[in-house]
C-alpha cells in the first residue's frame, strides 16, 4: 500500500483527495460523513458576509447524460453558503477539532474591498482551519454582484485581493481560478504575483445544459425562465487538464502548486491531473453522483498504480509535463497507420462509415464484412480508433525506420523534423 500522505501548499492530508468547495462541504454533517468515508481534506463551501445570500427555490441543477443515464455533465446555479457566517465558523471548529489529521480549507468570497477581507480572515483563522481558498471562479449569480468570476476575469483584481489576503493572514492562500477566460496563464500569474501559495482550477464553466422545447426555456427552468449556470463533471475534464498543463509548463509559473479540479471521478482521472502538474486534486460531481464512498476506489487505485511502478506520490506530480508541447514541436516524421485486429472486430462497420463519409476513404469493406485499412490512404488520424466500440480492436502502429510510407512514397526516418523546419513553413529556420 503506497503512502498517499500529501502536503499541498504546506497543508497536510492523509491522501491527495479533497472535496471541492461545493454542496458536499456545505456543513458539518456532510463533512463528518466525508471524513468517515476517507477523504483526505475538504474545502468548506464558500463563506461570505452576513446577511447570508439566498438560493432559488426551484431546481439548482441541470445535467447531460450518456448511455443508461450515466451523468456526464452537471450544471448548477447554487450560490455560496446560504447560512449565517457564525454557524459555519462554529461547525468548522468542531470538525477540525475531531479530525486534526484532515485538511480543512475554507473557501471565501467577499466584496472586492480590503475591509471585508480584514473582517473575515481572522475569524476563519480562529477556527483552526488549515488554509483559505479565494473563490474567484463562480460564474453565476455572485459574478453579477462583482464577486466570483467577475474578479477572476480581471488579473489585476486577482493580484490586488490576493495581496490583501496575504497581508491579513498567516494561513496558506489558494486562489481558485475561473476557466471562463481566454488564457488561464494570466490569472495564474496574477495570483502568483499577489503572493498566492497555490492555485486551484478549474471552477465551473458558463453553460446552459439544455432547452425545454415545450416551455422554450433553458434548463434548469424556474417559473419559465433559466439563467446560465456553472458546468462541471466528467465532460469538463479535458478542458481542465489542458488548463492545468498550461500553467504547469509555463516557465514563469514553475513551482506554483496546483490543486487540480474538473470532472475527476476515478483514481485514473486524479493520476492524470497529477501527472500534468497537480499536487493534489479536488472532487465534487463524482461525490454528488455516487456518494462519498467513491474515495475508497481512488485510494486503492492510486495506491496500486504507484506500487506497481515503485513510485512515490511526489514522483507522479508533473511527470507528464515535459511531454506537453506546442503543435509546432510535434515530430512530423513519426508515421503511423491504423491497424484493425480482425480477431477483435465485431464487424459493425463504424470505422468504415466514419472514414468513408467523413475522412480519408482509407478503410476497405471486403466480402464477409471484413474491414481493412488501406495503408496508401491512411493518414493515421485516429478517428476509426475513436469510433470503434471495441477497445484495442483498432490500434495505431508506428512505421519502422526505413520502411516506405505507401501513402507518400517517402522512406520513414526516425530523425525528428517538425513545422519549425518544414519547407512549407515560410518562417522555417534552417535545419541543423
Amino acid at each position: 500500500m503506497a503512502n498517499l500522505a500529501s502536503t499541498f501548499a504546506g497543508i497536510r492530508s492523509p491522501n491527495p483527495f479533497w472535496l471541492a468547495s461545493a454542496p458536499p462541504t456545505d456543513k458539518e454533517y456532510n463533512v463528518r460523513r466525508a471524513f468517515e468515508a476517507g477523504w483526505g481534506g475538504v474545502v468548506w463551501k464558500t463563506l461570505g458576509l452576513d446577511p447570508h445570500i439566498v438560493n432559488v427555490n426551484g431546481p439548482r441543477y441541470g445535467a447531460i447524460w450518456g448511455a443508461d443515464r450515466r451523468l456526464l455533465g452537471l450544471n448548477n446555479i447554487e450560490l455560496i453558503t446560504d447560512r449565517p457566517l457564525q454557524v459555519n465558523l462554529d461547525e468548522i471548529v468542531s470538525v477540525k477539532r475531531d479530525y486534526p489529521d484532515r485538511a480543512v480549507v475554507v473557501s471565501l468570497m467577499v466584496p472586492c474591498e480590503e475591509e471585508p477581507w480584514k473582517f473575515i480572515l481572522p475569524r476563519v483563522e480562529a477556527t483552526g482551519a488549515d488554509g483559505v481558498e479565494l473563490n474567484f471562479g463562480c460564474p453565476h449569480g455572485m459574478s453579477e454582484r462583482g464577486m466570483g468570476s467577475a474578479v477572476g476575469q480581471v488579473p489585476e483584481y486577482i493580484e490586488m485581493v490576493t495581496r490583501w489576503v496575504k497581508a491579513n493572514t498567516r494561513m496558506p492562500v489558494i486562489v481558485k481560478l475561473t476557466p471562463n477566460i481566454t488564457d488561464i496563464r494570466k490569472p495564474a500569474a496574477a495570483a502568483k504575483a499577489g503572493g498566492a501559495d497555490a492555485v486551484s482550477l478549474i471552477n465551473t464553466i458558463n453553460s446552459i445544459t439544455s432547452v425545454d422545447l415545450d416551455l422554450f426555456a433553458p434548463e434548469p427552468t424556474i417559473d419559465g425562465r433559466g439563467a446560465h449556470g456553472g458546468y462541471c463533471g466528467p465532460a469538463v475534464k479535458p478542458i481542465a487538464l489542458n488548463m492545468v498543463a498550461e500553467i504547469a509548463r509555463n516557465p514563469d509559473l514553475r513551482g506554483l502548486p496546483i490543486s487540480g479540479i474538473g470532472g475527476i471521478t476515478t483514481w485514473r482521472d486524479a493520476a492524470e491531473f497529477m501527472a500534468l502538474g497537480a499536487g493534489n486534486v479536488q472532487v465534487c460531481t463524482a461525490a454528488m453522483t455516487y456518494g462519498f464512498r467513491i474515495v475508497q476506489e481512488m485510494i486503492s487505485g492510486l495506491s496500486e498504480y504507484l506500487d506497481e511502478r515503485g513510485m512515490a506520490l511526489a514522483d507522479l506530480t508533473g511527470r507528464a509535463v515535459p511531454n506537453v508541447c506546442d503543435w509546432k514541436d510535434l515530430n512530423l516524421n513519426a508515421v503511423s497507420k491504423a491497424f484493425i485486429h480482425q480477431d477483435l472486430c465485431i464487424k459493425c462497420g463504424r470505422c468504415y462509415a466514419a472514414c468513408e463519409d467523413t475522412s480519408h476513404q482509407a478503410i476497405a469493406m471486403l466480402p464477409g464484412r471484413v474491414f481493412e485499412v488501406k495503408d496508401d490512404e491512411c493518414v493515421a488520424c485516429n478517428l476509426c480508433v475513436n469510433v470503434c466500440p471495441v477497445e484495442d480492436c483498432i490500434t495505431m502502429e508506428r512505421m519502422a525506420e526505413g520502411d516506405v510510407d505507401p501513402r507518400t512514397g517517402r522512406v520513414v526516418s526516425f530523425k525528428h523534423a517538425d513545422w519549425t523546419t518544414h519547407p512549407n513553413n515560410p518562417g522555417a529556420v534552417a535545419a541543423e
Binding site: A67, D68, R69, I346, K347, C348, G349, R350, Y352, A353, M365, R369, P389, V390
Partner: protein
Amino acid sequence: MDTPTTGASSGTQGGITAGRLTPDAYAANFADLHPPFDPHEAQVAADRCYFCHDAPCVTACPTSIDIPLFIRQIVTGTPDASAKTILSQNILGGMCARVCPTETLCEQACVRELAEGKPVEIGRLQRYATDHLQRQGAHPFARAEDTGKRIAVVGAGPAGLACAHRLSMLGHGVALLDARPKPGGLNEFGIATYKTTGGFAQAEVEWLLRIGGIALQNGVALGRDFTLESLLSEFDAVFVGVGLAGTNGLDIPGIDLPGVDDAVDFIAALRQSDPAAVPIGRDVVVIGGGMTAVDAAVQAKLLGATNVTLAYRGPQARMKASLYEQELAAARGVHVLHEAVPVAVEGAGRVAAVVFDRPGERVRIPADQLLLAIGQRLDPAALPPTQGGKIVVDGPGRTRTPRVWAGGDCAMGGDDLTVTAVAQGRDAAMDIHTSLMR
C-alpha cells in the same frame, strides 16, 4: 414464469380434463413471454445499438426494416417516428415483434451477439415502438388517390393483410376474403397464447384496416363460396394467401383412438378460449419437431399436464424448431425425445400409450392425450398450379395463372414465418400495382 405453476382442483388426475390449475397459475402461465419494455428499459436497450454501417440485422430481416434507424428514433425520444420506420416496411411489425424468431434473424446477426453473446433486444424494442404508436389510435398511413382498380385478396392472414394494406395505400380497392370467422390467420389461430396476449392480433387487424379501402368479409372460402375464375371476372387481380389449412396425418395402428388430436386445432382452440376451460391430459405426447410441436408441448405443460413428451423422429439437428424454442420447451419441463419413430398408439377404447422405435430399443410412453404436429399442407382447392404442395410463384408472387399472385405459407419460397409472409404480401402488392398501372 420459469416453471409452470400447478396445484388445483383436477390437479394430476388421469384423463383429459380442464381446470388442472388455480386461476392465478393460469394467469401466470399464459402471461406475456417477453413483457414489454417500460420507457427507461427501452432507452437502455436502445442505447446499446451501434448504428452499424450496412447493418447485418437489416440484411437478416425478411422485411428489411431499417433497424438502426428505428432504434435511434427510440433513443431520441420519438417512438412514433420509430414505429413508422418499422411499419413502412412491415405493416404487421407489432405482431412480428412478438412472434419473430429474432434469435435466428435480426438478433442473431447483431454484432453484439458476435461480440458478447448478448444482442440488442431488437424484437422488444420494435414492440415498444409499435405499441406506442398503436396506443395513439391513429393510423399513420394515408391512401393515395383512388385508382379505380379492384383486387381480391383471399386469406386475411399475415400475407393477405400485408398485401391488402399496401394495395389500399397505393389507392386500389380491396376485397379481403377469409374462410375463418375472424381475420388474422395464424396470428389469430396458430400462435402460442403466451406469445401474443391481450387480444393483440384482433386489435392489430382492426388498426391496420383503418387505412380504409379494404372490405373485409369473413366466413367465405375459396372453392366453396367463390372460385379463382369468379374472382377474376369481378376483380382486376387476385392475391391468394390462404396458408396451409390442411394437416398431415399419421398412418399407424391406433391413430383413430379417442385422445388423438391435431396440434393445430389444439392451439387454435386454446387461443380462442379461457385456458382454464381447455381440457388437457395428465400424460401428453406431442409428435413433431417444428414450432407447432413446441408450442403445443409447452402449452400442454402450462395447462397443467404432469408429463409432456415431445417426440421427434429425426436427430436434434434436423428439428425445425429453433434452438431457442427447444430450450424454452426444456425449461418449461417438456421432455424431448429425438430419433423416436412412432409405430403404434395403444389403448382400450382410448389412448393409453404411444410406442416408438428408437435406435436399439422400443419405448412405450404412457399417454392419455396425443397431439400430432407433423406438418401442415395446402388444402386441395381450386388453386393456381402447384408443385411439391405449394403454389408455384415467380419473383414477387406471380403464379402461373395470369392476374393471380400468391404469397405466404401457401406459396413457394416461404419459410413458414409471419415476417416472410408479410414481405411476400407486400412485394406482391407492389408488383400488382406496377402491373395494373402499366
